[in-house]
């Protein structure tokens, strides 16, 4: 599987991982495993659907999780996951 660098842009117990991941879903699973359930709400709604308020960037290209999950990751990809709704 490709080796990627992934960062969370909100406070969590671990904000940065280098991991093997085929898709963004592998990245999300890894963060939930490492950071615990506290970050799950960022990725999933209680209904189990993806949280539309979370964005993904892959090498600086902006996607929703739903769009990004279809994109195969490649070696050296830089992934960010963060909240669209922040600040003000």
């Amino acid at each position: 599987m490709p080796l990627v660098k992934a960062s969370l842009l909100f406070p969590a117990s671990k904000e940065r991982l280098e991991l093997e991941a085929g898709t963004i879903l592998d990245v999300i699973k890894a963060f939930v495993r490492v950071c615990g359930d506290g970050v799950r709400k960022y990725f999933y709604l209680d209904s189990g659907d993806f949280n539309g308020a979370t964005f993904v960037t892959i090498n600086g290209k902006l996607f929703t999780i739903r769009e990004a999950k279809k994109i195969p990751l490649t070696d050296g990809d830089i992934v960010f996951l963060g909240q669209v709704i922040d600040g003000g």
Partner: protein, 800 residues
């Protein structure tokens, strides 16, 4: 004594100001003496031995592919030391709140002036000369400056992998707006345009990078979120986060702008410093600043409102398009706030909204005081005036009939559970401005110069919209962190990541500590804005005092408990029988006392910890992003302004003659600072209403890139402003019941002025700013549209 219990158990709100020791008092700003004696050092005042000077070379085309960078002539300039390009980025060349934007462009540029090269030289003059001799060959691509064109096309794509130019979309779906609109007694439609604005801060953007022995870097820069800046820099340099230190100097104004630009300049200067291992200053000229720094949102809003024949609001159907510029970064958050506040501070049971952020080849949208709230307020309030007119009601009466009260259901379906008192605010404001009398006087005017009086209301959600995951509880929270430390000299130091930009938060935080500890403010120092202090989220969203103060309060409460225990032991009584007042710990029964200094001295001798860290988490309710419903913000501040204007119907010239501002923003911790905020915010809103507009030419370049062409209000433009009216509708979510003030007030000014113009002339303005040309066109043709693209010469001529 009336009390409002907070859900945060350690906070007890008392609404009787006399009961306070320090909160609610006019304490002078704690940095005032430093500022007036020039002891306060701003970034431009700082010099470091061997410091070099950097300058950015930007793109001269708005959209294109970088083919070649020729540095040969620039290298010949004496004094030029080196050049930094994207090839020098050791880490990730992506920055911003949404990391989509390169520190320095790699292969493609998406807006005019986008940074490509940094020239580093011994002195600023050599850096300028060197930058003028850098030649960059860019193959132009088709460009888009019109957000509607960008919204529709699938041919020209600014981020080609996206498949469209829509950066983000969202919706709110509450009730059944469509059906209600079909059946409603009264329906009004409007289309509104809001121009992009510049922050207009006096101090331009700067950053100094200093290399450290440990391989890290210290960056001194103006910013609003030191830990986010720190993480951006660390990723760019590919070094551990703790090797990056962000230090805040005194800041000469921000209004949201340095929130985004702090990240950009810190990353750029850190990159150069990391490579050259020398202190480096990067400082934008005014022209660079105006053309390159982030702008407020510009927006197009289509709005349909429905009401019953009696004047009850029934439904709103809205489409919002925000022009993001070249990178999304903050625009989705701006859109979200615009959406969450789109129906104004009124109860509207059925809401359907679709919102879009659209890329264009222009400088990107960033944080800006009001953060989309001004856009929402102008559209919502204009609809209220149009409805009132159609219903034959007074605009004030319609507003009061539908105003949010405690228990109301707001735009996103959120039940307002905080104590709000906006109804009383509006009623008292109307009385103080003699609303009814003046409306009567204005009826039936026939002269060419007419008077009008109007009202505008706004509301502003306090705190970060979505919240953050709790570290411990698996919940979504808003939060803050702080340290409180007592030194050997018995003085108290507060440390927190909140940033002081001139708004007075440090003083208010000192007052919170003073109140709890019973110490005078001069015993308290406040250290803020650095990444070495506890992370506490950004100083944005009007949360600096309200939420930033919560952790300070908690740490002080914990500290107080320790000192009271010492006092009880020394005074030989139970801890319940001691109190802390005016620097003393007193036995309330025997009246025996010991000083704060004695208690602290005993604690230090016993090696008791007087270094307290606190983190406060405020639990959030659910929000469903799929339907855009749920708790949008913890609580809201409210503002209303009554404006009186004079309109020359022959020339279209509008003169605001008097403004009456009012705010319901919870407990006022420092009335003098609050009044400053309201007066400043009123003038800020006046600029938005009547003159401020960043104009772009057909190349997407800022056409009015100086303060002689980008107009800000001067004192000559400022009308009489009545003493601000404050209604203290204390909040259970903010420290001592405080809510934010700074952002809510500017949003009520443009609709108030527009409403007054409507009263004076009978025509309703639909675009901001309300320039005299637009008023004249509206009076003459019933539209402000010119039907032409704004060209550079016309843009500039329109400025004066």
């Amino acid at each position: 004594m009336p009390r409002a219990r907070s859900e945060l158990a350690f906070l007890e709100t008392v609404t009787d100001t006399d009961a306070y020791f320090c909160v609610g008092k006019n304490i002078a700003k704690i940095d005032a003496v430093d500022k007036v004696t020039a002891k306060a050092k701003y970034l431009e005042d700082m010099k470091f031995e061997g410091m070099l000077h950097a300058r950015v070379v930007g793109s001269k085309v708005p959209h294109g592919i970088i083919r070649r960078i020729d540095l040969s002539e620039a290298k010949k300039v004496p004094g030029v030391i080196d050049f930094i390009t994207s090839k020098d980025v050791p880490g990730e060349n992506l920055i911003g709140y949404i990391p989509e934007m390169p520190v320095l462009a790699t292969d493609r540029v998406r807006y005019y002036a986008e940074p490509i090269v940094l020239v580093v030289a011994r002195d600023p003059e050599s850096a300028l000369e060197g930058s003028n001799k850098v030649r960059i060959e860019i193959e132009p691509l088709p460009m888009l400056v019109d957000p509607l064109q960008s919204f529709q096309t699938r041919v020209t794509l600014i981020h080609q992998e996206s498949g469209s130019n829509i950066a983000f979309n969202m919706k709110i779906s509450k009730g059944d707006a469509k059906t209600v609109l079909e059946k409603a007694a009264v329906v009004v439609k409007g289309e509104y345009k809001i121009a992009p604005r510049d922050h207009g801060y006096i101090e331009r953007e700067s950053a100094i990078g200093i290399p450290e022995e440990d391989g890290g870097v210290t960056v001194i820069t103006q910013q609003q979120n030191p830990h986010v800046v720190q993480r951006n820099v660390a990723r760019v340099l590919s070094i551990p986060t703790d090797l990056v230190r962000i230090v805040q100097p005194f800041i000469g104004g921000s209004f949201g702008g340095k929130n985004d630009m702090g990240i950009v300049l810190a990353s750029q200067v850190a990159l150069a410093t990391h490579k050259l291992k020398r202190p480096i200053l990067l400082h934008y000229s005014r022209e660079e600043s105006l053309e390159r720094h982030s702008k407020s949102e510009s927006a197009i809003i289509e709005y349909v409102s429905a009401a019953s024949a009696e004047g009850d609001l029934l439904a709103a159907k809205v489409k919002v398009i925000i022009d993001s510029g070249a990178y999304a970064t903050r625009s989705p958050s701006v859109l979200w706030r615009t959406a969450a506040q789109i129906t104004g501070p009124y109860e509207v049971p059925n809401v359907e909204l679709e919102g879009y952020c659209v890329y264009t080849n222009k400088v990107y949208v960033g944080a800006f005081r009001g953060f989309g709230g001004t856009t929402a307020a102008f559209a919502a309030e204009s609809q209220m005036d149009a409805l009132a007119s159609k219903l034959g009601m007074s605009p004030l009466e319609l507003r009061l009939r539908n105003i949010l009260r405690t228990g109301s259901i707001a735009t996103t379906g959120q039940r307002i559970d905080d104590g709000i008192d906006f109804e009383r605010t509006l009623q008292e404001l109307a009385r103080s401005a003699d609303w009814s009398g003046k409306r009567q006087l204005n009826a039936g005017q026939e002269s060419s110069v007419r008077r009008g009086i109007g009202v505008g209301c706004s509301w502003h959600g306090i705190g970060i919209g979505w919240g953050s995951p709790s570290k411990e509880k698996g919940k979504i929270v808003d939060w803050s962190s702080a340290n409180v430390i007592v030194g050997e000299d018995a003085k108290v130091t507060i440390q927190t990541g909140i940033v002081e930009m001139g708004q007075g938060t440090n003083t208010a935080l000192a007052q919170v500590a003073s109140e709890i500890l019973g110490l005078p403010v001069n015993m308290i120092s406040v250290r803020t804005g650095s990444s070495v202090w506890p992370e506490t989220g950004g100083t944005h969203a009007s949360r600096g005092l309200t939420h930033g103060g919560l952790a300070v309060a908690k740490a002080c409460r914990d500290l107080k408990a320790i000192v009271l225990r010492i006092g009880a032991e020394q005074l030989d009584c139970d801890v319940e029988n001691v109190t802390m007042v005016s620097g003393e710990i007193r036995n309330v029964t025997t009246h025996g006392a010991m000083s704060w200094n004695e208690a602290v001295s005993i604690a230090h001798k016993k090696e008791m910890p007087l270094n307290i860290s606190a983190r406060v988490e405020i639990p959030r309710e659910e929000f469903d992003p799929e339907t855009g419903t749920g708790q949008a913000f913890l609580t809201y501040s409210f503002s209303a302004t009554i404006a009186e204007v004079q309109v020359d119907t022959l020339t279209g010239e509008v003169k605001a003659t008097k403004l009456w501002p009012a705010v319901a923003a919870g407990k006022i911790v420092n009335p003098a600072i609050a009044e400053d905020q309201v007066i400043g915010g009123t003038i800020f809103g006046l600029g938005t209403a009547l003159m401020e507009e960043v104009l772009f030419d057909s190349k997407g370049r800022v056409a009015n890139g100086s303060f002689s062409t980008y107009l800000l209000p001067t004192m000559a433009d400022v009308p009489e402003i009545a003493n601000p009216l404050f209604i203290e509708d204390v909040s259970k979510y903010g420290v001592y019941g405080a809510k934010g003030i700074g952002e809510v007030i500017p949003s009520s000014i443009p609709p108030a002025i527009s409403s007054a113009i409507y009263n004076a002339t009978g025509v309703q303005m639909t675009e901001l700013p309300i320039t005299k040309e637009r008023v004249w066109r509206m009076l003459k043709y019933g539209t402000t549209a010119t039907g032409e693209r704004v060209e550079l010469e016309e843009s500039v001529s329109r400025c004066r």
